[in-house]
Amino acid sequence: MPAVQETIDTVKAIDVDQYKYGFVTDIESEKGAKGLSEETVRFLSAKKNEPEWMTEWRLDALRRFQQMEEPSWARVSYPKIDFDDLYYWASPKSVEGPKSLDEVDPELLATYAKLGIPLAEQEILAGVEPKNRVAVDAVFDSVSVVTTFKEELKKAGVIFCSISEALREYPDLVKKFLGTVVPVTDNYYATLNSAVFSDGSFVYIPEGVRCPMELSTYFRINEQNTGQFERTLIIADKGSYVSYLEGCTAPQRDENQLHAAVVELIALDDAEIKYSTVQNWFPGDKDGKGGIYNFVTKRGDCRGKNSKISWTQVETGSAITWKYPSCILRGDNSRGEFYSIAVSNGHQQIDSGTKMIHLGKNTSSRVISKGISAGKSENTYRGLISAHRKASNARNFTQCDSLLIGQECGAHTVPYIESKNASAQFEHEATTSKISDDQMFYCLQRGLSEEEAVALIVNGFVKDVIQQLPMEFAVEAQKLISISLEGSVG
């Protein structure tokens, strides 16, 4: 079936030339030397007053990186990246020194306000609890400019700060966990990131604490020819809970910009981490010029029993997306979830999906992925579900749908399903009509027509995915959600 008009209009509304966040902030900035070398890494590390072991860690990663080859298996194509023609450090001049809101350059505050991210801490009025308070860590080019609500979070025992600060203030905690989920040499871009990551967020939720508010990091690339390499590390100690949001934008430029991030999540016994992303990097113009290359390694480790990690992503930006948020289900009874809506338009290329690696007993995972491609874009779902020998009673349910709008785009599905345990039950399906015969029967029996029944079930199902998104992102996601599933293909 072809796509319905409403869907076509909705996708058009978020087409590449409608990009709203393409403005440039005119702010004085300081850059490191161009090029990737030991000096660059040492400069970076010194700039951040890092401990000696961290500098060595980075240098080790750099040496490994120099011996690696760029992977070519993803269905994306782009000219070779010249890593020596990039700046690895760019920072607004005004952010040196202590960070409190009053000292932040008003130009920066204005930039974030323009992006709809108020950095001012809302006051709690007497007796009135604001509905949705979010603590924000704002990362501008290579540095974190401000982190809000720090004091209040501290009262709950929650550590939320930039990773540079964490390296100075809590080196033992960082040393214990950094690189344990995504090892230094995990892959080409993760290795690069390990060598040159400039900033990012660090979160630690102590045992038994439910984080009192949503945490959020907002990434902005402003400078030209600058790579952004952020590193996020989130640790949820026993029995804790945290919901974390990530947003990103970049100015409209003719050159491609590189963004290679690493995100590591660690959930100990009974802990839960919910990680949501609305990825809105500049996708390039309608002729495919410019845009962000987004090569991201995201992985969560359900290290403890009964732990849970949930990824939700809405992907609309970037010229190239190469991103597979994954879960390692190590602890018994742990659970991993992946909900994704990926919309590609213009000349965008998306190769995204997930990996659910079942290691522990009674582990379960759920993958829901919806890809919509329009224009001349390519949209690929690539996923791995695997159950190892000891993963008795592992369960997985995967559903991936894709929708094509127009004749010049492509949608691809590349699932790998590997079962090494007989009691593991894996189900993978990719049609709307197959969702459930029982539900259909139930609806038909109550007098609904077949079409009404399908609409009802599909709507209920989409709502399911959307409910995974925190309130703050619901508005942005709303635009995508109204997209009908009609005419979708596996």
Binding site: S402, G406, Y416, A424, F426, A430
Partner: protein, 439 residues
């Protein structure tokens, strides 16, 4: 990866290069055919045997599996072939025609050559065709591509086979069994070509007899269907064999054709059954089925690429796998839909049943879609025997072993019955029972 860096050859690869040097003088074909053989061998020399870093062989590492390569089998011995055929009864007393190829040699005397001729079927030895003017065409037909390692190996070493031509409008009244017999040990490398004229109909049964010892079996079935033609082809691979069994089907489908195929694998240590189906005319339909049983240390790989290059074609893929012991099952299926191949309807399903703790299944059902008005779906499941079903049968007084047999048979029969070639259903189900009783 830099192709110019020479690879370090494994023992088997060195053996194959030596094998070519000593055999090439005797291998049939025109000058152009010899050049194709050289080019194909060059691919093995440069890239080696297919291995796990080659995406299509990710789960079936032939390079690691093949420790050494035996020489090609010697010339056929008709008397031995005759004796072996008498002991072979895969389909019992099913009324059928027979075509016999022994060690690559087409044996007209043991085949129903005359009866087939009266049905409109002409049989020619492949080697005669290779020596002729269009010989190179036979090995270089479109999409046979040198890029696949197993096909390249076949092209380099092909010893012979048969060319089956069914004239336009001929509907062959009985199934035709193409038996490939190994009358002595050694590698068997064959290629068979089937050409169906417009509106022709043929049901083909591929069977294998004899022992190749340490030699691999590598056979390609190249099918070309004229408009409105119909072909059903059943490949029966049974019995234990330690050397690799490598099967390739290439199907090129004209307009309004019907193509059906069933790959039945039970027993060998290393089997790869790969099929490439190409739609070149509109309103055609392809139905591909797979029934796989593997136990012990066996690896059974069913690989499939269906290429929807034109609009208005349907394809159905339905694969069932049962694994026991430490066996590994592989299913890799890909449906390609080219730009403008609108109204394509593709549906792919793969289901696996794991009977033991140590069995492994890898499923990779892929879709690659470039047209927007299509219906494509795929499904994949894997799991063990449903305890509730087992309990139901046990509660009715059926012993556990028998109950399991019934459930496995029911599971696999779904594909056999949907394949719908009624006269072979019984034979195939009997082979399932054999496997269950004997593995």
């Amino acid at each position: 990866m830099n192709a110019s860096v020479p690879i370090k050859h494994t023992q088997a690869e060195s053996d194959l290069l030596d094998r070519f040097d000593s055999a090439k003088g005797a291998l049939a074909g025109s000058v152009a055919v010899a050049a194709l053989r050289e080019a194909a061998l060059g691919q093995i020399r440069d890239r080696g045997l297919p291995h796990r870093r080659v995406e299509e062989y990710k789960y079936s590492d032939l390079r690691a599996f093949l420790k050494s390569a035996a020489p090609l089998a010697a010339a056929a011995d008709a008397a031995t072939a005759k004796a072996l055929l008498e002991g072979q009864d895969s389909y019992g007393d099913l009324d059928r025609f027979r075509i016999v190829v022994a060690n690559g040699t087409f044996l007209a005397d043991l085949s129903n050559t005359d009866a087939l001729a009266s049905e409109g079927v002409t049989l020619t030895a492949l080697n005669d065709a290779l020596a002729g003017e269009g010989g190179a065409q036979l090995l270089a037909s479109p999409k046979t591509g040198l890029s696949d390692g197993v096909v390249a190996l076949n092209t380099a070493f092909v010893q012979g086979g048969v060319v089956i031509t069914v004239k336009a409008g001929a509907e062959v009244s009985k199934p035709v069994e193409l038996v490939q017999v190994a009358t002595s040990t050694g590698a068997q490398v064959t290629r068979n070509k089937i050409t169906l004229g417009e509106g022709a109909k043929l049901r083909l049964l591929e069977t294998f007899a004899g022992d190749t010892g340490e030699g691999e079996l590598n056979t390609v079935l190249d099918c070309e269907l004229g408009d409105k033609a119909a072909l059903a082809t059943t490949r029966l691979v049974i019995g234990a064999a330690d050397a690799p069994r490598l099967f390739t089907t290439i199907a090129t489908l004209g307009a309004e054709t019907e193509f059906k195929s069933l790959g039945f694998i039970a027993g060998p240590r290393f089997t790869r059954n790969q099929q490439f189906v190409n739609f070149t005319g509109e309103n055609s339909e392809a139905k591909i089925y797979g029934v796989t049983m593997a136990g012990g240390e066996a690896l059974a790989d069913q690989t499939l690429i269906v290429d929807h290059a034109v609009p208005h074609c349907n394809s159905r893929e339905f694969f069932k796998t049962v694994l026991d012991g430490r066996a590994r099952g592989v299913y890799q299926g890909r449906i390609n839909v080219a730009p403008h191949a609108q109204k394509t309807d593709g549906e792919m399903m793969t289901q696996a049943l794991l009977l033991s703790e140590d069995a492994e299944m890898a499923n990779k059902p892929e879709l690659e879609i470039f047209a927007d008005d299509v219906l494509c779906a795929h499904g994949a499941t894997s799991g063990q025997i449903d305890e509730d079903l087992l309990f139901y049968l046990r509660a009715r007084g059926i012993p556990e072993d028998e109950a399991k047999t019934l459930l496995v048979l029911a599971f696999l029969s779904e594909a056999i019955e949907e394949y719908g070639e009624d006269d072979v259903t019984e034979g195939l189900e009997a082979r399932v029972r054999d496997w269950l009783a004997g593995h």
